[in-house]
Amino acid sequence: MATEILMPALSPTMEEGTLAKWLVKEGDTVSSGDIMAEIETDKATMEFEAVDEGIVGKILIAEGTEGVKVNTPIAILVDEGEEVGDVSAAPAPAAEAAPAVEASASAATAAPAAPQVDLTPDWPEGTAMKEQTVREALRDAMAEEMRSDDTVFLMGEEVAEYQGAYKISQGLLDEFGAKRVIDTPITEHGFAGIGVGAAFGGLRPIVEFMTFNFAMQAIDQIINSAAKTLYMSGGQMGAPMVFRGPNGAAARVGAQHSQDYAAWYMQVPGLKVVMPYSASDAKGLMKTAIRDNNPVIFLENEILYGRTFDVPDMDDFTVPFGKARIWREGDDVTIVSFGIGMQYALEAADKLAAEGINAEVIDLRTLRPMDTGTIINSVMKTNRCVTVEEGWPQGSVGNYISSVIMQQAFDYLDAPVINCTGKDVPMPYAANLEKHALITTDEVIEAVKQVTYR
């Protein structure tokens, strides 16, 4: 049976090419693997091999022809004693291009309605509270989850015998043993990958980075392996695990140890991103993170580790993802923050209250999923918004929030949204410069005055 030989696609982007040279002539016998022609693609000159055996019955496209479209018949291969005339079937057409995907659900709506927001309290009324540091809350959360699920384990640098570089894992080795609290060598890329592989294999790893600055060594495993595998496997397997550690500036440790990665990770579909401020949120969100079936980036803060907050004294206290917390209600302006940014937001709100400006202060707690509904609801009431974060200004979390507000509550705004951020510089070491590079309470107050025209 005669078969048509088609102009091949020899690269992912090739649509047409030049048939540079025929290396066979009519009447030649070819077998699989023989080079038939040289074809110039958009990238290079490629040799084109025969796939089937047969006799070259007819050459349809002369050598030197330019602009030969992919899938154009270029020659006909026949069996011994066969005529060129009996070419069987037309070649199968290439798959048609998929129609353009409809715009995602984020398109602006003409008449925005107030979004549905989950306003249930985090703990039942009347629950007894106890004072706890963020550090203790994180440790208790991990310990409780390790007690209830023996597939949960902690790995990282100095987490076991040293009791944690920042003492977050203090006591865990004693309680759970070396099988479940594992010191790693200093090898972030490697142990992050081993953690992801262990999650593929059915465990629930907690991978501690001594700081998130060092996680840049491992970011390929976090994003390409942990975040994308569920999608790439059509839902067959993913990485239920937590990557955690201190994030953002500590004090006087310079540019390479002082960076806020909130906006980086928040961008990645497949990841969930948590950045708590208080001890109760640290505890409740950590427990939720460990139980979540997805990779969770849990961004802690060294300066907050030692802060004391009230934590509900409950058997199993958890905080759901995607639910912001309103720390303070107010009518004049909405201040949105998360993590250590909350410290500046709350201080500013106190001082502004003394001047008669009542700010509503929202702690996002999780950045992905983000509770934009609570922000929009608040902005519909206050008509003004200031965002506060420690990270850099370009591509910041505040930039994203501003865009959501513009799309969903534009008509409610009485002033442009202002994003208060860290300065657009690597973190300096000198004490005075470092102070200047970080966001300050005064800057938040100044921004609020601008949007309230005071």
Partner: protein, 329 residues
Amino acid sequence: MAARKAQTKPNVSAEELQGYYRDMLLIRRFEEKAGQLYGMGLIGGFCHLYIGQEAVVVGLEAAAEDGDKRITSYRDHGHMLACGMDPNGVMAELTGREGGYSKGKGGSMHMFSKEKHFYGGHGIVAAQVPLGAGLAFADKYKENGRVTFTYFGDGAANQGQVYEAYNMAELWDLPVVFVIENNQYAMGTSTKRSTKSPSYWERGAAYGIPGEEVDGMDVLAVKAAGQKAVAHCRAGKGPYILEIKTYRYRGHSMSDPAKYRTREEVQKMRDERDPIEAVRSMLLTGKHATEDDLKAIDKEIKEIVNASAEFAKESPEPALDELWTDIYA
């Protein structure tokens, strides 16, 4: 210094030899068909064919037990077929269709089968090496006696994370066989041009990991080495390295003009060392099979491969709402 090549005077049955012939031929014919479909525009993007390397995965699968795991790079079609994944599902993933293993969302380089313990299919060179050590970590943690085959190429063997994984795998005695498929070219760069330490398996010594070099064109030698490695892992002695010397006949990917080696070099390998021809000749000279037996196998394979191509053409493209699924569990 050099490891002894595994002895290949095995007592091998006709049935076993025919099985290897069949499994290797399936990979070769499947890959040839994939190349054809690529040329027709039915397969897009990158497509890395396994032709020439068939004895590596077929030999090692013969050394594996039920429940053992495997993970590899983007040159992954052979591994999937060898571990028993359905050719239809693999081919349909290549064409980006609903019937593919990842519903068309992964493609040639990113395919998985939890059922067959195949953990991908990874597109970032060497990322699968710590991942494979992690799978072995999970098995050791669960004390289930399983072993993970972690495949990577001579190109990946120069990535830093390989050595991070070696160090921890030996430190924690993880049951993982590191399989270096040395096909001599990392894309277009020959091993000679990428290292002065070309005996990759010896690098394990720096971490205390034993290993050996294996003739990857001899399926029986690969199987014997695989059995040795697996026994080491299952005995709780930690990882083992197999550097399997092999050769890919085709380009790195479909868009590789292959100017870095001569036609003669490739042809010589095909003529003198072809792993499928070697088994074929063993079958015939040992009177384990007749020409007619082999023709019947050829025909059966051709039918399987043609059916997979038909399935991959007929299976519809994924529904548009698949865009938004499987992002979160």
